[in-house]
Subunit: 383 residues, 2 copies
């Protein structure tokens, strides 16, 4: 029985394309087609696409032979598992299944019959994005996303404009500013653009930022961004991400959060301060919510955590203090550790102002990155 | 304010003792004391004990100074977290807390105040176990436990005597037989004893076998076992496990499960057969419950899985067949893989008899280990 070959492809081409498109597939959706990938042969190559309607990822890869024109869908999770399990050098053939709505895959001695939904149902966000275009280094952008993400409060359902990452050009248009903010504080990182940048600020969803980090953090080719009013197109090598932008306007004057006149400046080792906070937090009943009390002493910071049951921990980190000792402030330990985790230098400069004002973290080299951390009001009353 | 020092100890001594005793602590128990460890100074050393009333683990370690006689309890999970988080070379001091029911710990710049329950409430299984005593190699015993555990059906609440691992002396008293059985099949592994063994067969709980594996699998010192009618004592180096035995009698004639006259013998590569079953199982809706159909062909085994929705997979493993092709039998894929995972040789000899009888797996070297696998009755009807 001669079955119709739909396409033939090497595993080394297909697997990375599936892994990329899979990032956008929604395998838990109640709409079955969103849990599928669309495979489309075109011009001797194969496009693999996934979408959850907010974000769409397309990866293009090479077929083994020319002349195919198949367009099929396959359940994303099953296809990914099967292709992963096949031997590294497998040549995979896709056939029409014996029955309608089936696809058959064969490779070496393995044979699978899986479901296929009608490809006409497969949705698209539309690949045409017209607008401002420029290129950045994908590693620098991924790194910036990593450094600011901890600030985003995913439980803040009211201020949608704070639920993502704000990106805007620097004043001279030569850099890209990557910013996140919430009640917890503010994180801002500048990265180089490969050309002059000019677009109104946008807000990128954490999901899209996460997909960029996951797919491009290790890539050396330039990352090309195209930004329209409502969408962003991110293209790098054979992979293209299309995503809706978050509507709303991020507060333009965010830098005003930084207190103008610090009263105390502290130089601390990031590692040592992290370790002290981690140890003290061991007695916290709920590490993510409870506060820690930070006290500036002459040559050290004192970290104290008391849990609801009355157990307690005190720890210290030696520091260099420029200013007066004695200030005590309450902080969320998890956010404090998040801030320290984003500091790329070995030491950190911390600027303290009034007890109720945020403290500012600055690097000890000339990178343009800063982090503000807001105190917890309930705890600062204990001072 | 001079606080009373209860004991001083180096982290490198205390941490392994806590890790061992922690294996027996029941941190989810409604009886709070079972979530604690008992620390008792005695003769210049410290005993750390944990128990969940079924199993008790005691580890002894060195104190920094002589002369302490403290007996205290501390919540197991918190103590373990704190000691793990302290610097590797920390010297730890335990003090009486400022209030009743509190213990204070200090090490370097860190200080913790934690709860302590009255030590008089701490239960004991009794350390005196009188009975047959002998020694085995802990690695060989752990390895035997690992190889037979997959057979135990933890959901079989009726036949308690099958809920653990059966251990009995070989007929000549020079070896120890480690056996597990259930509807799934049977696994039996013999290991050397360092002396003649003589005791009625016992049934060890999976929990105790698990603790032995976890604590002693890498240890080179001999493992000393003492077996009474109701308890077992397992001592190795500074760690002692006391455990209740499972009551009941394991079927003595278990070796009768092996079909007397195999009709077909097959030699297969363990890796290749595993890979074929894993790939075919990718379409199983519930890998742990659904069956696979195994068919003996002339020079290969055919593995077929069909899920409830009608998706299917077929895979093959080349084999050497001594006997007739054509037999088809249903098996649980997970148990089949469990069996193959216990085969220590590169190839495996499989003996087939009638379609309804178990198949037997034997090693290709002279180790005394065999594994029986029962077919799934529902599936074998498809033949």
């Amino acid at each position: 029985m001669a079955e119709k070959v739909l396409l033939r492809i090497h595993r080394s081409q297909l697997l990375p394309a599936i892994e990329a498109a899979f990032e956008a597939a929604d395998t838990r959706s109640k709409i079955p087609i969103l849990g599928s990938l669309l495979l489309r042969c075109h011009g001797g190559r194969l496009s693999v696409r996934g979408t959850n309607l907010d974000i769409e990822i397309e990866a293009v890869c090479d077929l083994l032979d020319d002349g195919y024109d198949a367009v099929i869908t396959v359940a994303a999770a099953r296809l990914r598992e099967i292709i992963k399990a096949l031997p590294e050098h497998a040549e995979i053939s896709f056939f029409e299944g014996r029955h309608e709505g089936q696809i058959k895959l064969t490779a070496a001695g393995s044979q699978f019959t899986v479901f296929s939904l009608p490809e006409k149902e497969y949705p698209s966000l539309g690949t045409d994005v017209a607008g401002s275009a420029f290129s950045v280094d994908p590693q620098a952008l991924s790194d910036a996303f990593r450094k600011v993400t901890y600030v985003v409060d995913t439980h803040d359902d009211v201020r949608i404009y704070l639920s993502g990452i704000h990106i805007h050009p620097s004043e001279d248009g030569r850099k890209l500013c990557v910013v996140a903010g919430s009640n917890r504080g503010l994180a801002a990182v500048k990265i180089e653009s490969k050309s002059t940048v000019d677009f109104p600020g946008i807000i990128l969803s954490l999901e899209t930022a996460g997909a960029i980090k996951k797919l491009f953090a290790e890539v050396k080719e330039p990352l090309n961004l195209t930004i329209s009013d409502i969408k962003i197109k991110v293209q790098c090598g054979d992979v293209t991400i299309i995503s809706r932008l978050i509507e709303g306007i991020f507060p333009r004057e965010y830098a005003r959060l930084i207190p103008a006149e610090p009263t105390r400046k502290i130089l601390a080792s990031v590692d040592v301060l992290q370790a002290a906070i981690r140890r003290a937090s061991l007695v916290a009943s709920d590490f993510t919510k409870e506060g820690m009390l930070l006290t500036v002493e002459d040559d050290r910071l004192r970290v104290e955590v008391v849990n609801k049951q009355g157990e307690s921990a005190i720890d210290y980190a030696p520091v260099e203090l420029d200013g007066e000792a004695g200030l005590s402030m309450g902080f969320n330990a998890k956010t404090f550790l998040g801030t320290l985790g984003s500091i790329a230098t070995q030491d950190v400069r911390m600027e303290f102002a009034e007890r109720t004002q945020p403290i500012v973290f600055r690097l000890t080299d000339d990178r343009e990155e800063f982090f503000c951390l807001s105190p917890m009001h309930a705890r600062s009353a204990e001072d």
